[in-house]
Amino acid sequence: AQTVTQSQPEMSVQEAETVTLSCTYDTSENNYYLFWYKQPPSRQMILVIRQEAYKQQNATENRFSVNFQKAAKSFSLKISDSQLGDTAMYFCAFMEPRGDYKLSFGAGTTVTVRA
């Protein structure tokens, strides 16, 4: 299994400000997929954003954007204009292009948005 590391157990951010979550991974593959999932207290795992390793352009979904640094094997998530509803656990995940859809998850980062 691939190793996915999230070094920040907890992050706190003021409403309307920006927070960046870090994620690094280890792989010898050249092509793969990276994801950020959000898990609010409801337990639902929600797909936030997806990045294909062969695409140099960083993925963006509304207030969520990534900084994908392939050489450094880094995949950070930036949440802009933070909202109270962004309070959740965020998981970074890795998928090899084998067609088996197996995900390797990081340990997660708890994000708390303060009013």
């Binding site: 997929y33 994801f35 999932y37 409801s42 337990r43 639902q44 795992m45 929600i46 797909l47 997806r50 294909e52 998981f91 998928m95 292009p97 088996d100 859809y101 197996k102 995900l103 998850f105 990081g106 340990a107 997660g108």
Partner: protein
């Protein structure tokens, strides 16, 4: 994305008993997956459930403990057998996204507590 319904949403069980968790999808999918999330931990893949064949289990998980059924392309069950307090976790069903876009979507999870 597919709509994934998981039942029950939570349950409290006595040790030594078994619980069957159901996962229903609103569209046909080839691959379905079962994940476990132990308290305060990340997600770990239990097995891949494909219709028409036996489930494929990951290292550390066995069929006798976690039997899985996949009778059709929209439904699967996971049974947690002979439960002990160590089985207290969130169990999540997930399915591949449509169109082969390497996305994985999750149900809302089953919170299991074993006394």
């Amino acid at each position: 994305s597919a709509v994934i319904s998981q039942k029950p949403s939570r349950d409290i069980c006595q040790r030594g008993t078994s619980l069957t968790i159901q996962c229903q999808v609103d569209s046909q999918v080839t691959m379905m997956f079962w994940y476990r999330q132990q308290p305060g931990q990340s997600l770990t893949l239990i097995a891949t459930a494909n219709q028409g064949s036996e489930a494929t289990y990951e290292s550390g998980f066995v069929i006798d403990k976690f039997p899985i059924s996949r009778p059709n392309l929209t439904f699967s069950t996971l049974t947690v057998s002979n439960m002990s307090p160590e089985d207290s976790s969130i169990y999540l069903c997930s399915v591949e996204g449509q169109g082969g876009n390497e996305k994985l979507f999750f149900g809302s999870g089953t919170q299991l507590s074993v006394l």
